[in-house]
Symmetry: C2
Subunit: 168 residues, 2 copies
DNA sequence: AAAGATTGAAAGTTCAATCTTT
DNA sequence: AAAGATTGAACTTTCAATCTTT
């Protein structure tokens, strides 16, 4: 019998298939942000992260979200979000409001100018997402990507899905 | 026939399946780097990008690569790479050498200390990659991820596949 | 003491400019 | 002029510390 079976995953190393998947995933992870930032910067004077902040607020009830919820939705740490909201506030795109029911908390809300900014930025951003990510994939692959990313997020994102009993 | 077919991609917006795939992909893109950096920082005093630089050099002939090649392999801009190599050089993990055949070029080479650093860091890093990315996927999904990431890279990475004569 | 959030300093990245060699 | 690479300043993120409220 063969001593080493490459189809069996050895904990210490990655086989060829695993390596290919991993190397390509980190390549996407490293390159995508720069592309998104460039387009949004040039066309709308926003970083991709700023865009995400505005986008999440734009879809929230009252266009308002607590800082901690917003940090989860934008996949950011609270200090990062706080700094960015400070900048967006300075540009008049977002406003901070106290939360009456809990005086430790802060609400971030989209201003009218913030709404206009996201509405103006969206079409170009969507076109970029299509061009670089969605267009090169078949509909089946889009579906597969959603499933695969969800599986990774179940490990990587504490708030991903409420932990289900089985089939995690 | 129905006026609007949600399975047909409208250029301006994303349908539910596309949106799910996209939102989850950017969540992975935003969260993964922090996880990789944390583990490597704590256990090996390296960022993930520094790890990649050392890893690519460790597998290159003579453990040596030109700066521009290394920037492609690590998915980084040249200024970013240059700054990081300067820091790694300061720590004695990498050395810069002139390229005899082209005096504009610079080779980066792994020192013995750099080799030892990557050898020491690798097992913990591989374990993290398994834990957060590979383990939650089935072998088929690992394969699908490789295919999907390659398709995205064909748009996102100019050096992805050697530019073929047609179908650019 | 823990939760929610902010702050300032340190670290890393990006951008534009620059330099040398081809 | 283009290619290969580096530099310094500006900007952004991270880390640790801090503050207030629960």
């Amino acid at each position: 019998m063969p001593d080493r079976d490459r189809s069996t995953s050895e904990p210490q190393w990655l086989d060829d298939a695993e390596m290919a998947a991993w190397l390509r995933l980190i390549a996407v992870v490293e390159r995508l942000p720069g592309i998104l930032d460039s387009q949004l910067r040039q066309d709308s004077n926003l970083t991709h992260f700023e865009y995400q902040v505005l986008a999440m607020l734009s879809e929230a009830p009252d266009r308002t979200l607590r800082m901690s919820e917003l940090s989860l939705l934008t996949n950011a740490t609270l200090p990062r979000l706080s700094h960015v909201v400070t900048r967006l506030e300075g540009r008049g795109l977002v406003a901070r409001l106290p939360v009456p029911t809990d005086r430790r908390a802060t609400n971030a809300t989209l201003t009218e100018a913030g709404w206009e900014a996201i509405v103006a930025a969206a079409p170009g951003h969507v076109a970029t997402v299509r061009e670089y990510v969605l267009d090169p994939l078949t509909p089946r692959q889009v579906q597969q990507l959603a499933t695969i990313a969800a599986a990774i997020l179940s490990r990587v994102d504490p708030s991903a899905t409420a932990p289900r009993p089985r089939d995690g």
